[in-house]
Point group: C2
Chain length 250, copies 2
């Protein structure tokens, strides 16, 4: 069944109003009619099965059939801090990362980033990524849309680390020397509900100095298996491993 | 360091000759010179550190400095059987799957596949996918290039299942009803060296009848966490979970 996120103000105890692009999607793309059903989420934990009562140009009026209790969200609150990559790789990272359960994405600049975002470009990219996150959250049946945070400098990333229970940096030199213990050890220590910040370098990787600074700020440097992963594959690996460990193994 | 796969015939006890596109890559793209070093693999388990001795138009002559003993290959031999998806998604699946350790890729047709490959198109696609697998294997420092198998019908997929120790089908209806036990249970049973066939449907999924036929052929239907994954994300999830289980947790 199709899922849509609505603002909490549009979800009362009995009814949900769907507006904007989603209203258009229901009427024009899905060609739904009065009596059809959709699932609506207020992005704050409330999810409901709804029946369409009225279709207008910019608004779809529905009544709530029943609330849906579900747990689609990862018990580990993972923020992917991603060194800004080239092209549209960040869009793929946000799309796949949303499916795989990330709670937030934090783009950051580092010495080997080739792409630079000024404030205007950063703002535009953030809006585009938010749209991708919303659509991926709907498609993957999540109860919440992950946050896309404004891009930060490497120095700001170091400062933000203090807000998280655990900090991980994926470091390809660890994969090369065969470091295989730390990620599993960390996941074994984590209790449901903790927050984790995962830093992943851009295509050229993080410099040794940057990794040293991250470690000083409390990050644990982890290998992600013996093969060298592309920057856009590293976040999928970490999120899949966390899902497997906490959602399937337990 | 750059890595190249060469044919076993081009790797003697003392020297390696690199030809074709790779020779061009070394000379023109990387602009390497006599005395520079590369790593060569014969795709049959032999890997060596080599020094460039002579650069000619179509051939690079190197001498072996020392053999490299390494274990970059997954202890579980995973074949990803992928329902043929639209566009260039299969290219992304082969690229990411190679990084994540797949041993082979087997494209198959099923009732909800939108794209049909005739023999000529299938052959051309296979060659393109083999090139992607080779490049991804070099970039991710693998010792072997995964196989890209010729596309098969759904009926042939059912027959092939007999060749594998374990068979898994990723089924989104399992995710919807919250099936979370089977994948971890299966991985706990597996011993290093076993072969696993993982069937993943195309964008529209597998039909209930196809899933029933797969189960009859010995496949175990598994949920991949509580969220609904796109077809191209499912293989990354399974390969990451297998890598985490066998390469990091142990």
């Amino acid at each position: 069944m199709q899922r849509y996120f609505v603002s909490p103000a549009d979800m009362t105890d009995l009814s949900v109003t769907i507006t904007g692009d989603d209203a258009n999607h229901i009427a024009k793309v899905m060609r739904m009619e009065v009596g059809d059903r959709v699932i609506c989420s207020d992005n704050q934990g409330r999810v409901a099965l709804c029946e369409i009562k009225q279709i207008e140009r910019d608004s779809i009026y529905t009544s709530i059939i029943e609330p849906i209790e579900e747990s689609k969200e990862s018990p580990i609150r993972v923020t992917i801090a991603q060194g800004i990559p080239k092209g549209d790789k960040l869009e793929a990272i946000v799309q796949k990362g949303t499916e795989l359960g990330a709670q937030a994405f934090l783009p950051f600049s580092s010495s080997r980033c080739i792409v630079k975002w000024d404030e205007k470009k950063g703002q535009k990219k953030k809006q585009r990524l938010e749209k991708i996150a919303k659509e991926a959250a709907e498609q993957s049946h999540r109860s919440r849309i992950p946050y896309v945070l404004p891009p930060v400098s490497f120095k700001s990333l170091l400062k933000k680390a203090a807000d998280f229970d655990y900090k991980i940096v994926a470091y390809e030199e660890d994969a090369k020397i065969g470091e295989t213990q730390r990620l599993a050890k960390l996941l074994n220590e984590m209790a449901p509900g903790v927050s984790v910040l995962c830093a992943i370098g851009p295509e050229g990787g993080l410099s040794q100095q940057e990794v040293d600074e991250l470690i000083e700020a409390g990050f644990i440097s982890c290998g992600l298996g013996p093969r060298i992963l592309r920057t856009e594959t590293a976040s999928s690996y970490i999120l899949s491993a966390i899902s497997y460990h906490f959602e399937l193994m337990r």
